[in-house]
């Protein structure tokens, strides 16, 4: 890789000197340049160059991302022995998927993570509106503090929240007791484990959503607000009639991103809930179950079938969101 980098550095520098030296020599240079440009347009030269530039990412994506999709599809029709090796079993995995109670509850849990995760978007929107106001002081301090959860490793975040949620000494229950509420054992109680994970999920994405929405708000031309103000619209009216409709593309993006993120919940379950937790069935996500089945129980074929179904769900949900966007997203 470094070899390649240095070759690239040397290449242009060398050719630059060569062309500098050649060009003053007379009328031949421009003609040669034009001819080269003409040739560059032709299929051959350009195709070779394209191949050169696309090769690293193309091969990498092909080997590690595109080929595995096909393989996952193939594996989903196989059964794996304990020492590797697999036999073709047709639709058996898919048939057991249908009758797997763990899977259906994992899908239901994941659906809840998606829906609860969306609740963070209105919060982010209000934050973006308040923080993004022209002339607001201290923006970078607020933004840094609110963005910390976004950049922090989910494994570490989960450990910190495990401590906060602790039923005997946790800060959350301590603060709740100050207002007279007896807090639960958040992460070991099957009734609250899912909510507890979802809250951490929202907590760690609010800053991201806020930054994206703030960029969207700041991209709205000032003249719209001036026109609205001339018409006598107050701040609330301006927000509802100018900001909100013009922000729908950003809101749409944040929604799609949030749902895709929630569909992939894994780290929080792995560290916050953990494999020995009694509340695991009520809170585990599809990806967690997939990891458990494929790599702990070594049931790779079954895991592959699960992966393939989830992939179809992700594509379907994203596709549905794109279809529905025509109804409410305005592209100025």
């Amino acid at each position: 890789m470094t070899e390649m980098a240095t070759r690239d550095v040397a290449g242009p520098a060398g050719s630059r000197n060569a062309s500098r030296a050649a060009s003053p020599k007379g009328g031949a240079a421009p003609a040669a340049g034009r001819r080269r440009r003409g040739r560059g347009r032709g299929p051959n030269t350009s195709a070779w160059w394209a191949l050169f530039f696309l090769a690293p990412t193309g091969i990498g994506l092909g080997v590690f991302y595109i080929w595995p999709v096909i393989q996952t599809f193939y594996y989903s029709f196989t059964s794996w022995g304990p020492f590797g090796g697999h036999t073709f079993t047709g639709l058996a995995n898919y048939r057991s998927l249908l009758h797997d109670p763990a899977l259906s509850s994992a899908f239901l849990n994941t659906l809840w993570y998606c829906l609860l995760g969306l609740l963070g978007i209105p919060v982010s929107l209000v934050l973006a509106q308040v923080l993004g106001r022209r002339g607001r002081k201290g923006v970078s301090v607020y933004r840094t503090l609110m963005f910390l959860p976004v950049i922090t490793m989910p494994a570490a975040v989960a450990i910190v929240w495990r401590w906060l949620y602790n039923g005997d000494y946790g800060l959350v229950d301590e603060l709740l007791s100050k207002v007279g509420i007896k807090g639960p054992y958040w992460i070991s109680d099957p009734h609250t484990a899912l909510i507890a994970v979802a809250i951490v999920g929202i907590w760690s994405t609010v800053g991201y959503n806020m930054v994206v929405l703030m960029a969207g708000i700041q991209g709205i031309p000032r003249t719209y607000y001036e026109a609205a103000e001339l018409d006598g619209a107050g701040p609330v009216r301006q927000f509802l009639s100018v900001t909100l409709p013009l922000l729908t593309p950003s809101i749409f993006f944040v929604m799609v991103y949030s749902v895709i993120g929630s569909l992939q919940t894994f780290d929080l379950i792995y560290v916050l809930i953990g494999p020995t937790n009694a509340a695991l069935p009520q809170s585990q996500s599809v990806i967690y179950l997939f990891y458990q089945d494929s790599f702990i129980n070594n049931n790779r074929g079954y895991g592959a079938a699960m992966a393939f179904v989830l992939m179809l769900v992700v594509i379907a949900v994203t596709g549905l969101q794109f279809r529905l966007q025509k109804r409410w997203v305005h592209y100025g």
């Binding site: 390649m4 080269r36 195709a47 080929w67 970078s140 933004r143 450990i159 930054v211 990806i287 992700v314």
Partner: protein, 294 residues
């Protein structure tokens, strides 16, 4: 615009000026109050993590809890070194993040350049193929990816950590948007000057796409640093793990010793928090770009 509105409001606004300013003042105080509360909710857990990490085990489970540690214990931090190979895992995390970031910056910018500026047969088909990768959640590909690593005899090695992460469809798209935003005359002029594709890419396009490269670099670094599932699957030797797995393992050793766990969590996240605080503006701009361009 301002000129045309001026004559329209002679006396009216002047009379309303005083209450209006007071109202703005109150609004500003309210807004800051709201932002302070939100900041406490979002950053408070980090403060609690920091304070707990210096408490003794007995003090940490005191009811009601103390805010500041009665005495500041550094022993929690040294305990982390005894439980997990922290130094090794730290260097693994750094190697992993740097390798993925450098490779993505080079490879993604190359492919992005091809899609943005080179005409070649089948460009749209190849582009659609790249696009399809974005739709597939990466976690779902780990079974075949694991098999590939096994076939290459790379399980339990450092390269296994970063090899698949060196290539990115997302990075290609992000940078392609940047390249497309550059004036086409630039490309034309360079070609007329006889510059070859490599020179146009390296000395003209790359420097101009610097904001995009910085954004992609920071995002890749953050994602690589935080990744848990892939290192967990592909390696099981503690000396070949990244810090994210190390932290998860620390929990297995110090099950309920929260002061030590907080110290470990803080140590694992601090390098990235420092990078973020220093590069705050760039990171946020990069994130905003993924929303508007990606």
């Amino acid at each position: 615009m301002a000129d045309s509105t001026l004559p329209a409001r002679p006396a009216g606004p002047a009379r309303r000026d005083q209450p209006r300013r007071i109202r703005q003042r109150l609004g500003s105080i309210g807004a800051h109050g709201f932002l302070v509360v939100a900041s406490i909710l979002l950053a408070g857990p980090f403060l609690w993590e920091l304070l707990t990490s210096f408490k003794s085990l007995t003090e940490s489970v005191q009811v009601p809890p103390t805010w500041l540690p009665s005495s500041w214990h550094l022993s929690n931090y040294t305990a982390v070194f005894d439980a997990i190979p922290f130094r090794t895992e730290l260097s693994n995390s750094v190697i992993n993040a740097v390798a993925r970031t450098v490779a993505q910056l080079l490879f993604c910018s190359m492919s992005a350049f091809a899609f943005a500026w080179l005409k070649f047969p089948g460009r749209n088909v190849v582009f659609a193929l790249f696009l399809s990768v974005l739709l597939v959640p990466s976690q779902l590909l780990v079974i075949p990816q694991y098999q590939i690593m096994q076939d290459l005899h790379l399980l339990n090695t450092i390269p296994a950590l970063f090899l698949p992460g060196m290539f990115s469809a997302f990075g290609t798209f992000l940078l392609r948007q940047f390249f497309l935003a550059l004036p086409p005359e630039l490309h034309e002029a360079a070609r007329l000057d006889g510059a070859g594709p490599i020179r146009i890419y390296w000395s003209i396009m790359l420097p101009l796409a610097k904001p995009g490269l910085v954004a992609l670099g920071l995002l890749t670094m953050i994602w690589s640093w935080n990744d848990l599932l892939w290192p967990l699957i592909v390696n099981n030797d503690p000396g070949k793990m990244t810090l994210s797995v190390g932290i998860a393992n620390l929990q297995g050793v110090y099950l309920t010793n929260y002061p030590v766990l907080m110290a470990g969590a803080l140590m694992a996240t601090l390098p990235l928090i420092i990078v973020f605080v220093v590069m705050q503006r760039r990171v946020v701009e990069g994130i905003a770009l993924t929303g508007t361009k990606g």
